[in-house]
Symmetry: C2
């Protein structure tokens, strides 16, 4: 979130930014910004703020975004396409049949698997990825995929977020 805002700030010509401004942009508390950054080092200048470009570089390094990762996307429906589009991954992609997933994942040295298949297939696909050396999964399917301890997993549940809205809308009206 911070990184994304820094990009915009740089685009707008800002060279420095205070924790208060960052907090306002990201809709969090200023102390939160300082704590979060402080966890990784001292990036700011007291009495001045943070250097926009320098802080971007620091965050890039922290998130390991400054290195390339081999990502495998399972499911090339609308969601899979949207993901690839969204991430600007359109260059250098290979599209293969799901039957070849296991050998391909090994061959291309896939490090992160993105699952956008229907829920019925999600666990199966995850298992295939796990058989190769993949140990990070980004799961868009509305199913709780079960993975071994060693494998990192992030779930993106769109439905749950929509349900949060209907819940809050209903309660707001009730009050």
């Amino acid at each position: 979130m911070y990184y994304r805002q820094l990009e915009l700030l740089e685009f707008d010509g800002y060279r420095m930014v205070s924790s208060e401004k960052m907090a306002w942009l990201c809709q969090v508390n200023p102390a939160q910004v300082r704590k979060d950054l402080g966890y990784f080092g001292e990036f700011g200048i007291r009495g001045v703020g943070y250097d926009v470009r320098d802080l971007q570089a620091q965050i890039k390094k922290i998130l390991a975004v400054n290195r390339d990762w081999n990502v495998g996307v399972a499911g090339m429906g609308n969601l899979g396409s949207a993901f690839i589009e969204h991430q600007n991954l359109e260059s250098g992609i290979t599209i293969q049949d799901i039957g070849e997933l296991e050998s391909t994942a090994d061959e291309l040295d896939i490090e992160i698997a993105v699952i956008t298949t229907p829920p019925q297939a999600a666990q199966h696909v995850a298992d295939l990825f796990l058989k190769s050396q993949v140990n990070a999964i980004l799961n868009f399917s509305p199913t709780r995929i079960r993975v071994p301890e060693c494998c990192l997993i992030e779930h993106i549940y769109c439905t749950v977020r929509l349900d949060i809205l209907t819940y809050q809308l209903r309660n707001e009206m009730g009050s």
Copy 2:
């Protein structure tokens, strides 16, 4: 999450389920399940567990999923299409030009806006929705949309989730 698991349990023929089983399925602590449900009422039977169908009905009621909501999706690229597909919203939809958004939102009494447009357009589209009586937004665009106090908003940041994975992957390898 609980609701989704209950659907699967019912499909598999289960009539009752314990907090321990639910917890296992959802990968949380059993006490967590009981606390969460306990916040809304006493749905279980001591010594037995929860009635699968009854608990589904209760959660439906809590989340206000048992009533229809008028949802407006801005952006009909891959992401918008994926969302509609995903939510089984394919019936009864109307597709209109973005220029008609304001009048259409009023006319169709849109209650929840879903934004899947490119980030440049996101704030503008949100503002249009806000001019009608929309006060809940589900935002897929990778921008922090600014909305008035009265408007509920949920952000789905796919990129952030991917960054969490690269961060953790890097750190895991370091250790």
